[in-house]
Symmetry: C2
Subunit: 201 residues, 2 copies
Amino acid sequence: MPREPQQDRSRETRERLLAAALSTLTEQGLAATTVSGVAQRAGVSRGAAQHHFPTRDTLIEATIDEFFAERTHQLRNAVAELRPGAEGASVTEILELVFGFFSNDLFHAAVQVWAGAAADDALKAVILPAEERYSREVYQLAALALNADLSDRQTRRMLSMTLDIARGLGLASVLIEDPDHRNSVIRTWGETLTEGIRRNR
Amino acid sequence: MPREPQQDRSRETRERLLAAALSTLTEQGLAATTVSGVAQRAGVSRGAAQHHFPTRDTLIEATIDEFFAERTHQLRNAVAELRPGAEGASVTEILELVFGFFSNDLFHAAVQVWAGAAADDALKAVILPAEERYSREVYQLAALALNADLSDRQTRRMLSMTLDIARGLGLASVLIEDPDHRNSVIRTWGETLTEGIRRNR
């Protein structure tokens, strides 16, 4: 049975609102992410926006959901594209990928969300488990791509530190991009990882 | 000649306003840092607050100045207390110190400022050189305390990466403190640094 055209339109409106909310969040921060501002940006009437998101809280919650869904989606696409061979992808390749996840627009939106959550316990309670899930996925992706032997404690520690480094580089990138520094870190940490982690044969 | 009591009172009011502004910034973010909100928190009349800070921009600028002055002050006190011996302080000691600078209240305020600056080019222009100066000071402190040989490129890279790791740990600490993870990073990175950097005799 074909879907009702009206249902399609309603879904399309919701998607436009969420896309506008995500852009507002990234560019202007959480405080600027309001139903009326987002409606205007999406070119949707305020009434139609309120039909989907009756309160600001429902909009924020849906935006955060959308945000994590989009980040996870990008992550899984990246895994699919890596197609690790018998020896795994190169360390440099993996570091570029992982550091990339922590310096794109979605990461910049994450910094806005974290800054907002620091002063908002209800938001923090939503964000924290979602962030932990996301970090675990990045960790697993890196381990898989490197054929890392996760039974080795030192290997686990170094993979986990890779995420700390990625977050640090990403935070600095909120103010300014510094590709030279980033490449220098990829080289330095890449050498350390290559020597330090144990790989499955 | 003794100072005028009125001058003292005026200076004291300004200091109370700045302290309140810094607390508001840390706890509630940049958007919440307004002249009237800060006046209320400081227990100062709105008129008196506007005498010191006629606009919100002047308040934000003074708060940012105060913020960097306070961070630099803490840094220099820490250097004075380290009193490096002939061999320099232990790597663990230095890492605890440096990571501490990036996970205290002042760093959490910095994350709020960065998030705000991402959407505000005028603010970014103020913050960027101040952040670079601050990072350079932390870097120099770590080099001094470790007796690091900065003529060695690998040593410079590893010291610089120490700041990236500190920022990454600090960003995660905005949502949740994880002392076990932090200690594990201090151990892992401490071993890498100990092996990897060259020290002056």
